[in-house]
Protein backbone atom coordinates (compact mmCIF):
# COMPACT_ATOMS: atom_id res chain seq x y z
CA UNK A 1 0.00 0.00 0.00
CA UNK A 2 1.44 3.34 -1.06
CA UNK A 3 1.15 6.34 1.26
CA UNK A 4 -0.69 9.48 0.17
CA UNK A 5 0.84 11.78 2.77
CA UNK A 6 3.62 11.85 5.34
CA UNK A 7 4.40 13.94 8.38
CA UNK A 8 7.77 13.64 10.12
CA UNK A 9 9.12 15.44 13.12
CA UNK A 10 12.44 15.27 14.90
CA UNK A 11 13.20 17.04 18.16
CA UNK A 12 16.71 16.90 19.60
CA UNK A 13 18.22 18.13 22.84
CA UNK A 14 21.95 18.88 23.01
CA UNK A 15 24.04 20.16 25.88
CA UNK A 16 26.13 23.02 24.47
CA UNK A 17 27.98 23.52 27.75
CA UNK A 18 27.30 22.81 31.41
CA UNK A 19 23.82 24.18 32.12
CA UNK A 20 23.12 25.36 28.55
CA UNK A 21 20.81 23.30 26.37
CA UNK A 22 19.87 23.63 22.72
CA UNK A 23 16.59 22.13 21.57
CA UNK A 24 15.94 21.84 17.85
CA UNK A 25 12.49 20.86 16.62
CA UNK A 26 11.85 20.21 12.95
CA UNK A 27 8.48 19.38 11.44
CA UNK A 28 7.86 18.41 7.82
CA UNK A 29 4.84 17.37 5.84
CA UNK A 30 3.63 17.78 2.25
CA UNK A 31 2.44 21.34 2.92
CA UNK A 32 4.79 22.76 5.54
CA UNK A 33 8.35 22.58 6.86
CA UNK A 34 9.81 24.50 9.79
CA UNK A 35 12.72 24.33 12.18
CA UNK A 36 12.74 25.88 15.64
CA UNK A 37 15.78 26.37 17.86
CA UNK A 38 15.60 27.21 21.56
CA UNK A 39 18.56 27.78 23.87
CA UNK A 40 17.67 27.21 27.52
CA UNK A 41 19.88 27.79 30.56
CA UNK A 42 19.85 26.42 34.07
CA UNK A 43 19.21 27.01 36.91
CA UNK A 44 15.97 28.83 35.99
CA UNK A 45 15.57 26.87 32.72
CA UNK A 46 14.71 30.13 30.97
CA UNK A 47 14.82 30.56 27.19
CA UNK A 48 17.87 32.63 26.21
CA UNK A 49 17.39 32.50 22.46
CA UNK A 50 14.54 31.47 20.15
CA UNK A 51 14.74 31.22 16.37
CA UNK A 52 12.34 29.90 13.74
CA UNK A 53 12.93 29.15 10.10
CA UNK A 54 9.93 28.43 7.87
CA UNK A 55 11.42 26.31 5.11
CA UNK A 56 8.24 25.66 3.15
CA UNK A 57 4.65 26.88 3.45
CA UNK A 58 2.73 25.70 0.38
CA UNK A 59 -0.35 27.79 1.11
CA UNK A 60 1.57 30.83 2.40
CA UNK A 61 -0.61 31.11 5.48
CA UNK A 62 1.87 30.99 8.37
CA UNK A 63 2.20 34.52 9.75
CA UNK A 64 5.42 36.31 10.61
CA UNK A 65 6.01 35.38 14.26
CA UNK A 66 9.45 36.97 14.62
CA UNK A 67 8.08 39.36 17.25
CA UNK A 68 6.65 36.46 19.22
CA UNK A 69 9.99 34.64 19.03
CA UNK A 70 11.62 37.61 20.76
CA UNK A 71 8.95 37.52 23.47
CA UNK A 72 9.81 33.88 24.21
CA UNK A 73 13.16 34.94 25.63
CA UNK A 74 12.86 34.73 29.41
CA UNK A 75 10.01 32.20 29.43
CA UNK A 76 10.84 29.30 31.73
CA UNK A 77 10.55 25.61 30.97
CA UNK A 78 8.31 24.37 33.77
CA UNK A 79 4.86 24.74 35.29
CA UNK A 80 2.66 27.28 33.51
CA UNK A 81 4.68 27.26 30.27
CA UNK A 82 1.74 26.06 28.14
CA UNK A 83 -0.43 29.04 29.02
CA UNK A 84 2.42 31.52 28.60
CA UNK A 85 3.59 30.18 25.24
CA UNK A 86 0.05 29.96 23.88
CA UNK A 87 -0.55 33.51 25.12
CA UNK A 88 2.46 34.74 23.18
CA UNK A 89 1.90 32.78 19.98
CA UNK A 90 -1.86 32.37 19.67
CA UNK A 91 -3.07 35.92 19.43
CA UNK A 92 -4.93 37.07 16.30
CA UNK A 93 -1.79 37.29 14.21
CA UNK A 94 -0.21 34.22 15.76
CA UNK A 95 0.18 30.58 14.93
CA UNK A 96 -1.09 27.58 16.90
CA UNK A 97 1.18 25.31 14.87
CA UNK A 98 4.26 27.23 15.93
CA UNK A 99 2.99 27.33 19.53
CA UNK A 100 2.74 23.53 19.44
CA UNK A 101 6.26 23.28 18.03
CA UNK A 102 7.64 25.50 20.80
CA UNK A 103 5.83 23.54 23.51
CA UNK A 104 7.00 20.22 22.11
CA UNK A 105 10.59 21.50 22.16
CA UNK A 106 10.25 22.66 25.77
CA UNK A 107 8.69 19.34 26.80
CA UNK A 108 11.60 17.42 25.27
CA UNK A 109 13.96 19.25 27.61
CA UNK A 110 11.79 18.15 30.53
CA UNK A 111 11.98 14.57 29.22
CA UNK A 112 15.74 14.86 28.77
CA UNK A 113 16.13 15.98 32.38
CA UNK A 114 14.06 13.05 33.67
CA UNK A 115 16.11 10.40 31.84
CA UNK A 116 18.97 10.26 34.40
CA UNK A 117 16.45 9.87 37.26
CA UNK A 118 14.58 7.08 35.48
CA UNK A 119 17.77 5.36 34.34
CA UNK A 120 19.16 5.39 37.86
CA UNK A 121 15.93 4.10 39.38
CA UNK A 122 15.55 1.38 36.77
CA UNK A 123 19.14 0.20 37.30
CA UNK A 124 18.79 0.20 41.08
CA UNK A 125 15.28 -1.13 41.67
CA UNK A 126 13.89 -2.17 38.28
CA UNK A 127 11.91 -5.40 38.15
CA UNK A 128 12.83 -7.99 35.49
CA UNK A 129 9.82 -8.60 33.23
CA UNK A 130 8.64 -10.76 30.34
CA UNK A 131 5.32 -9.20 29.25
CA UNK A 132 2.70 -10.89 27.09
CA UNK A 133 2.34 -7.74 24.95
CA UNK A 134 6.09 -7.81 24.27
CA UNK A 135 8.04 -10.42 22.32
CA UNK A 136 7.47 -13.24 21.50
CA UNK A 137 10.98 -13.54 20.07
CA UNK A 138 12.56 -10.16 20.76
CA UNK A 139 11.67 -8.32 23.98
CA UNK A 140 11.96 -4.52 24.14
CA UNK A 141 11.28 -4.34 27.89
CA UNK A 142 13.52 -6.41 30.14
CA UNK A 143 13.38 -4.23 33.27
CA UNK A 144 10.60 -1.87 34.41
CA UNK A 145 9.77 0.17 37.48
CA UNK A 146 7.22 -1.73 39.56
CA UNK A 147 4.27 -0.35 41.53
CA UNK A 148 6.22 0.23 44.75
CA UNK A 149 8.91 2.28 43.03
CA UNK A 150 6.45 4.14 40.80
CA UNK A 151 5.05 5.57 44.04
CA UNK A 152 8.53 6.54 45.20
CA UNK A 153 9.32 8.20 41.86
CA UNK A 154 6.05 10.13 42.01
CA UNK A 155 7.37 11.80 45.15
CA UNK A 156 10.31 13.22 43.21
CA UNK A 157 9.37 16.81 42.21
CA UNK A 158 11.16 16.36 38.89
CA UNK A 159 9.10 13.28 38.06
CA UNK A 160 5.71 14.07 39.58
CA UNK A 161 3.08 14.64 36.89
CA UNK A 162 5.70 14.12 34.16
CA UNK A 163 3.47 11.31 32.92
CA UNK A 164 0.25 9.55 33.84
CA UNK A 165 2.07 6.76 35.67
CA UNK A 166 3.35 9.27 38.26
CA UNK A 167 0.06 11.07 38.85
CA UNK A 168 -2.60 10.73 41.50
CA UNK A 169 -0.52 8.60 43.85
Amino acid sequence: MILNFQMNSLTTVEQLEKGLWRITARSDDDLFSAELTLDVKTPALDIRQAALEIRRDALGLVPDVSGAMTKLVGVRVGPGMTKIVRGILRDESGSERIADLVLEAMEMLVNALTVPELRKATQMVGVPVRLEIDGPDVYLNDVLLGEEHIKLMAGNPRMKDSCVAFRDL
Binding site: N4, F5, Q6, M7, T12, V13, W21, L59, I150
Partner: protein, 151 residues
Protein backbone atom coordinates in the same frame (compact mmCIF):
# COMPACT_ATOMS: atom_id res chain seq x y z
CA UNK B 1 32.36 18.19 22.62
CA UNK B 2 28.61 18.53 21.98
CA UNK B 3 26.65 15.30 22.13
CA UNK B 4 23.00 14.44 21.73
CA UNK B 5 21.19 14.16 25.07
CA UNK B 6 17.68 13.31 23.92
CA UNK B 7 15.74 12.93 20.71
CA UNK B 8 12.17 12.15 19.68
CA UNK B 9 11.02 11.15 16.23
CA UNK B 10 7.42 10.98 15.13
CA UNK B 11 6.41 9.74 11.73
CA UNK B 12 2.87 9.56 10.43
CA UNK B 13 1.64 8.08 7.18
CA UNK B 14 -1.80 8.48 5.63
CA UNK B 15 -3.41 6.10 3.15
CA UNK B 16 -6.52 6.58 1.06
CA UNK B 17 -8.19 3.18 0.95
CA UNK B 18 -11.06 3.45 -1.53
CA UNK B 19 -13.37 6.43 -1.86
CA UNK B 20 -14.41 6.80 1.77
CA UNK B 21 -11.86 5.08 3.98
CA UNK B 22 -8.68 6.68 5.31
CA UNK B 23 -6.06 4.91 7.40
CA UNK B 24 -3.39 6.73 9.37
CA UNK B 25 -0.47 5.13 11.17
CA UNK B 26 1.81 6.90 13.62
CA UNK B 27 5.04 5.89 15.29
CA UNK B 28 6.80 7.69 18.15
CA UNK B 29 10.26 6.79 19.38
CA UNK B 30 12.49 8.54 21.89
CA UNK B 31 14.90 7.59 24.69
CA UNK B 32 12.07 6.76 27.08
CA UNK B 33 9.22 5.46 24.95
CA UNK B 34 8.31 3.72 21.73
CA UNK B 35 4.68 3.43 20.67
CA UNK B 36 2.46 3.27 17.63
CA UNK B 37 -1.15 3.89 16.74
CA UNK B 38 -3.31 3.07 13.74
CA UNK B 39 -6.61 4.82 13.10
CA UNK B 40 -9.29 4.07 10.51
CA UNK B 41 -11.60 6.95 9.58
CA UNK B 42 -14.75 7.13 7.49
CA UNK B 43 -14.06 10.25 5.43
CA UNK B 44 -17.71 10.75 4.41
CA UNK B 45 -18.61 11.73 7.95
CA UNK B 46 -15.03 12.29 9.27
CA UNK B 47 -15.64 9.79 12.04
CA UNK B 48 -13.10 7.48 13.68
CA UNK B 49 -14.13 3.87 13.08
CA UNK B 50 -11.28 1.95 14.71
CA UNK B 51 -8.21 2.71 16.81
CA UNK B 52 -5.48 0.28 17.69
CA UNK B 53 -2.49 1.25 19.79
CA UNK B 54 0.63 -0.52 20.90
CA UNK B 55 2.91 0.51 23.72
CA UNK B 56 6.20 -0.97 22.53
CA UNK B 57 8.87 0.26 24.95
CA UNK B 58 8.25 2.05 28.21
CA UNK B 59 9.49 2.63 31.75
CA UNK B 60 6.90 1.36 34.23
CA UNK B 61 4.62 -1.62 34.67
CA UNK B 62 1.67 0.81 34.46
CA UNK B 63 2.44 2.04 30.93
CA UNK B 64 1.04 -0.93 28.97
CA UNK B 65 -2.35 -0.47 30.68
CA UNK B 66 -2.79 2.58 28.44
CA UNK B 67 -3.44 0.38 25.41
CA UNK B 68 -6.99 -0.31 26.61
CA UNK B 69 -7.92 3.35 26.87
CA UNK B 70 -7.56 4.63 23.32
CA UNK B 71 -10.15 2.45 21.58
CA UNK B 72 -12.74 4.69 23.28
CA UNK B 73 -12.18 7.20 20.46
CA UNK B 74 -14.32 5.03 18.18
CA UNK B 75 -17.18 7.20 16.92
CA UNK B 76 -15.44 10.52 17.61
CA UNK B 77 -15.47 13.12 14.82
CA UNK B 78 -12.61 15.13 13.37
CA UNK B 79 -13.66 18.57 14.55
CA UNK B 80 -12.52 21.38 16.82
CA UNK B 81 -13.32 19.33 19.95
CA UNK B 82 -11.16 16.36 19.01
CA UNK B 83 -7.74 17.46 20.33
CA UNK B 84 -9.15 18.35 23.73
CA UNK B 85 -11.08 15.08 24.01
CA UNK B 86 -8.06 12.97 23.12
CA UNK B 87 -5.79 14.81 25.55
CA UNK B 88 -8.27 15.00 28.43
CA UNK B 89 -10.40 11.86 28.10
CA UNK B 90 -7.69 9.51 26.81
CA UNK B 91 -4.31 11.07 27.58
CA UNK B 92 -5.02 11.69 31.23
CA UNK B 93 -6.40 8.18 31.66
CA UNK B 94 -3.84 6.32 29.58
CA UNK B 95 -0.67 7.94 28.31
CA UNK B 96 -0.22 11.55 27.30
CA UNK B 97 2.57 10.67 24.88
CA UNK B 98 0.23 8.33 23.01
CA UNK B 99 -2.44 11.06 23.12
CA UNK B 100 -0.05 13.51 21.44
CA UNK B 101 0.74 10.93 18.77
CA UNK B 102 -2.96 10.38 18.17
CA UNK B 103 -3.67 14.12 17.96
CA UNK B 104 -0.90 14.49 15.39
CA UNK B 105 -2.14 11.45 13.45
CA UNK B 106 -5.71 12.75 13.19
CA UNK B 107 -4.53 16.20 12.18
CA UNK B 108 -2.18 14.69 9.57
CA UNK B 109 -5.15 12.86 8.11
CA UNK B 110 -7.10 16.10 7.63
CA UNK B 111 -4.01 17.82 6.19
CA UNK B 112 -3.50 14.86 3.85
CA UNK B 113 -6.97 15.32 2.41
CA UNK B 114 -6.37 19.03 1.90
CA UNK B 115 -3.00 18.32 0.25
CA UNK B 116 -4.53 15.68 -2.02
CA UNK B 117 -7.32 18.00 -3.16
CA UNK B 118 -4.84 20.86 -3.59
CA UNK B 119 -2.67 18.70 -5.87
CA UNK B 120 -5.70 17.73 -7.96
CA UNK B 121 -6.84 21.35 -8.19
CA UNK B 122 -3.37 22.52 -9.24
CA UNK B 123 -3.26 19.90 -12.00
CA UNK B 124 -6.47 21.32 -13.41
CA UNK B 125 -5.51 24.95 -12.83
CA UNK B 126 -1.79 25.73 -12.29
CA UNK B 127 -2.69 29.34 -11.54
CA UNK B 128 -5.04 28.33 -8.74
CA UNK B 129 -6.13 31.03 -6.28
CA UNK B 130 -5.18 29.58 -2.85
CA UNK B 131 -7.78 31.64 -1.02
CA UNK B 132 -10.57 30.51 -3.31
CA UNK B 133 -9.41 26.89 -3.04
CA UNK B 134 -9.53 27.04 0.77
CA UNK B 135 -12.96 28.67 0.76
CA UNK B 136 -14.26 25.87 -1.48
CA UNK B 137 -12.59 23.19 0.68
CA UNK B 138 -14.08 24.49 3.92
CA UNK B 139 -17.49 24.98 2.31
CA UNK B 140 -17.48 21.24 1.65
CA UNK B 141 -15.97 20.34 5.05
CA UNK B 142 -17.19 23.06 7.44
CA UNK B 143 -16.34 20.98 10.53
CA UNK B 144 -12.65 21.09 9.51
CA UNK B 145 -12.46 24.89 9.41
CA UNK B 146 -11.68 25.24 13.12
CA UNK B 147 -9.84 21.92 13.25
CA UNK B 148 -7.27 22.32 10.48
CA UNK B 149 -4.92 24.93 11.85
CA UNK B 150 -3.18 26.08 8.72
CA UNK B 151 -1.72 29.29 10.14
Amino acid sequence: MIMLVYSRTKTIGVQKQGANRRVVSGVLEDELYAMQCEIMVNWDNRTIEKVQTRMKRFTTTRCPLAEKVFAAAQGWKLDSELDGRIKKELGRMGCRHMAILMVDACRALARAELARELREALEKDPGLDNKQFLEDFFRRYPDLKDYLRLE
